[in-house]
């Protein structure tokens, strides 16, 4: 690997402090430390260190996302060809999806890393790894047909306002990927909801009976119709066995939605991998799931419409719930930082997520809003957990 090292050595004078391309120093440093774990040795404190670093942590998360990502690519193609009534082999569907997805990923990374590198240069610190994950999360929670410039603008907004203004990776209040999605959702609502954006139908005539809606979009139409209304039978039939949005289809992910969010199975697989690797917090995932389940259960018991009456487990398989649980709520920076706080944070995020989704059908992505809301609340939860420790200590003094 000498020649790679040589390239870095040769270009280093260009980007160093007095070099002509100093603005590229963070990029140079980022690439070099990516290619080679640096030869830095310990100089204070403990003399040996764990092999783990933030790059390792982040790449582990990326590995966990890969199954859902690949599935999402295939699902793009599958839905596309089904919508225009063409038969397509698995590979064709996958390639079609991959060609849709790659520009999204590239644009996200370019926009986000551009901002990161600029700030690294301005603030004179190395590029942080956080965006490696955010940059892949953002395209996975976008609808397939969203224009690239919107993704770029959302990403830039997220990195700037969501992260850099607070001081960069580790200092942010909100999950950057969700900030990007929230920005896109509120800035370009027509591109982020409805029944036109989830399935790519260009290049063909849609078949009879085609619907581009999502499960949650359809469910939202049942609100206000009461329970057992025959008018909703056609929609609810889709949720029964053999329907479009049957439990099995939702679990496997054969439904329309944001690109990476549909397959509960593969997301769970990624989640298990994260827990197994000790990178994702099982406390958050478990309590998030329970929170959602409890809320969906309460709705189910006191249902006044079909949306509320949906089987709680089925409810959790739809929309961004699973994706939010595994990849969004667990972001260690924006989540609660205390172990007790994680249970509360996760539970409430899941709980509110389902609540928003069902109570306000205009926001089918209640999960996104709930997690962002709990991001903001997480410091408050931590505050009370830490305060309890402080009180315990103060009490000890009083007794001593």
């Amino acid at each position: 690997m000498k020649f790679v090292q040589n390239i870095f050595d040769k270009t280093r004078p260009l980007v160093e402090k007095d070099g002509k391309r100093n603005i590229l120093y963070p990029l140079h440093n980022a690439l070099e430390t990516m290619a080679f774990v640096p030869d830095h040795t310990t100089h204070s404190g403990a003399h040996v260190r764990d092999a783990i670093d933030l790059k390792r942590t982040m790449v582990t998360v990326i590995f966990a996302m890969v199954p859902a990502l690949l599935f999402g690519m295939w699902n793009i193609g599958r839905l596309h060809f089904a919508a225009i009534g063409e038969e397509a082999a698995l590979l064709d569907s996958f390639l079609f999806g991959a060609l849709k997805m790659l520009p999204l990923i590239t644009v996200t990374y370019a926009a986000g890393l551009g901002v990161e590198i600029y700030f690294s240069w301005k603030r004179n610190h190395p590029v942080n790894e956080g965006f490696l994950v955010s940059g892949l999360l953002i395209p996975m929670i976008m609808p397939v047909d969203i224009p690239l410039w919107m993704v770029a603008v959302s990403t830039i907004f997220a990195v700037l306002i969501g992260k850099e203004v607070f001081g960069g990776t580790g200092m942010n209040l909100l999950n950057p990927a969700l900030t990007a999605r929230a920005f896109a959702f509120f800035a370009y609502p027509t591109w982020m909801s409805g029944d036109q954006v989830w399935i790519n139908t260009k290049g063909g005539e849609v078949v009879d009976g085609y619907s581009g809606a999502t499960a949650l979009g359809d469910l939202a139409t049942t609100v206000g119709q009461g329970l057992g209304n025959t008018a909703t039978d056609a929609v609810m039939a889709q949720f029964g066995a053999g329907g479009h949005y049957s439990f099995m289809n939702a679990f496997l992910g054969l439904i329309p939605g944001s690109i990476g969010e549909t397959s509960a199975l593969l997301i769970l697989l990624g989640g298990l991998f994260l827990v197994f690797k000790g990178v994702g917090s099982w406390k958050i995932m478990l309590s998030f799931f329970l929170g959602g389940f409890v809320m969906a259960g309460i709705f189910n018991v006191f249902a006044v419409n079909e949306f509320m009456g949906l089987n709680p487990l089925h409810q959790l398989m739809l929309g961004g719930f699973m994706f939010g649980m595994v990849f969004m709520a667990t972001d260690p920076v924006s989540a609660a930082q205390t172990e007790t706080g994680k249970y509360i944070y996760g539970f409430l995020a899941g709980f509110f997520g389902i609540m928003i989704r069902v109570f306000n059908p205009a926001y089918p992505e209640g999960i996104m809003l709930a997690i962002l809301f709990m991001n903001v609340m997480a410091p408050l939860i931590d505050y009370y957990v830490v305060e309890a420790n402080i009180k315990r200590r103060a009490k000890r003094v009083a007794h001593a």
Partner: protein, 449 residues
């Protein structure tokens, strides 16, 4: 009946190069050095100058603010040089040793009749008071303080730590004398800790002490853990701590009035050609000893263990209070895509690597950082290694923003840097936790004085 505590949070870093039972003999040298840098929180004021003749046990320097804190000469001889650094900061007092050590004249101390005041004076004058550390702050104790309790740490469970039974063998009488002397200094208890997982140390079964036992993982061998479990420190309280390995030196100072800081030093590490135990005095020049017993090529020499030890030069001197030498390879090499590769053989406390599947594997660790420093990102990481009722990350943050009140509330009085050592090793963001805690303690102490 002694109380037993099980330590579940923590980590045993298993390294190759454990001390064998070999006796590496006596090591002495013509030069000795005592460095004020071994005593955090002390502003050294010299009691000698270059050319002064000293006896073993004569004061070399003392703390400017607390003149009763005295650091004494380990041997008799002549002060060869006062080594100074930037701004004339004293780095070390170099001594040229006599061929035969003569001791400063102190009377033996009658432990049956002595009272606290006399014991305090004796501790201070003979120099053995310097072996006592005070909490809060983790600095050398002033004999004018009234400690609530005194904790004697009889557990050596850190990486490659020597076997205490070997190091204290045959010194039972001196150990007992030291415990009795310490008992005079407090109206509270003298706790002595024992390791349930190691061979019992008969010499430590001293009378007049409260015995507590710990089992489980390191940091059971850190006195901070032991205090937190047995009787945590509250604001306004002072607790003294002593390492069991220093007890014979304290005992001897009381039994015969002599200051002879002699250790059976555990010689360890993957770079040690001969592991075992060598008898030597604190401050002795290691020049010669290192070349005889270690492979010195690209090697990091450490007085103490890899968690909390002090880095030594190849011609360095045995640091104060250290009964262990560790030598490990320097890790000054890059690694191609080391963060992506599976890394089956790599050491990690984190399951992101595969080593956790082989809990008994021993590692030949080098000093590589394995990454660059980052902000706090991962949460819940430090808690796994600090078995105290403390929120480590929140405490560290309060230190970083210099919020004295928050530091107090979050329990800074209960910790010293070494309590954060394992967390520092494990830290994903590669943050210098021990240095942060030391800075916080220094700030706090300045505020309080």
């Amino acid at each position: 009946m002694s109380q037993t505590f099980k330590i579940r949070k923590g980590y045993d870093i298993k390294l190759v190069g454990e001390a064998s039972s070999n006796d590496l003999g006596q090591h002495s040298a013509s030069t000795y050095a005592v460095s004020p840098l071994d005593f955090p929180g002390i502003t050294p004021k010299l009691a000698v100058k270059a050319g002064s003749k000293v006896l073993a046990g004569d004061t070399l320097f003392f703390d400017k603010d607390r003149p009763e804190v005295k650091i004494c000469a380990p041997v008799s001889g002549e002060v060869a040089e006062i080594k100074r650094g930037a701004k004339r900061k004293i780095l070390a007092v170099l001594l040229l040793a006599d061929s035969e050590t003569s001791y400063a004249k102190h009377d033996a101390f009658d432990l049956k009749k002595g009272d606290r005041e006399a014991a305090a004076t004796h501790f201070s004058n003979t120099g053995v008071g310097a072996f006592i550390t005070t909490r809060p702050y983790g600095v050398a104790a002033s004999m004018n303080e009234q400690p609530r309790d005194i904790f004697v740490n009889g557990i050596q469970s850190g990486p490659l730590n020597g076997d205490l039974a070997t190091q204290l063998a045959g010194k039972g009488e001196a150990v007992q004398a030291a415990i009795s002397a310490l008992a005079l200094m407090t109206s509270g208890k003298v706790y002595v800790s024992h390791d349930a997982d190691a061979a019992a140390v008969a010499e430590l079964q001293a009378e007049g002490a409260t015995h507590i036992t710990f089992s489980g993982k390191h940091p059971k061998g850190l006195v901070g853990t032991q205090i937190a479990k047995a009787a945590p420190i509250n604001k306004g309280e002072v607790v003294w701590t002593v390492n069991a390995v220093d007890l014979p030196i304290i005992g001897r100072a009381f039994l015969s009035g002599e200051y002879a800081p002699e250790y059976k030093v555990a010689v360890t590490g993957s770079k040690a050609m001969n592991t075992g135990y060598a008898t030597m005095l604190q401050g002795v020049s290691l020049n010669g000893f290192i070349s005889a017993n270690f492979n010195a090529e690209n090697t990091r020499f450490i007085a103490g263990d890899v968690l909390t030890g002090t880095q030594l030069a190849t011609d360095g001197f045995l640091s104060f209070g250290k009964a262990q030498l560790t030598a490990i390879p320097e890790g000054n090499q890059t690694e191609f895509f080391g963060w992506v590769l599976p890394g089956f053989g790599k050491f990690s406390t984190n399951r992101a690597f595969w080593g956790w599947l082989f809990p008994n594997r021993k590692y030949d660790l080098d000093t590589n950082m394995h990454g660059e420093e980052r902000a706090f990102v991962v949460s819940g990481e430090y808690e796994k290694f600090i078995p105290m009722d403390i929120f480590p990350q929140q405490l560290l943050r309060s230190i970083l923003i210099r919020d004295i009140e928050k530091m107090e509330q979050l329990g800074i009085y209960e910790v010293v840097p070494e309590d954060f050592a394992i967390a520092e090793v494990a830290c994903t963001s590669k943050l210098p936790l021990q240095q942060i805690v030391r800075d916080g303690l220094n700030d706090l102490r300045k505020e309080m004085m």
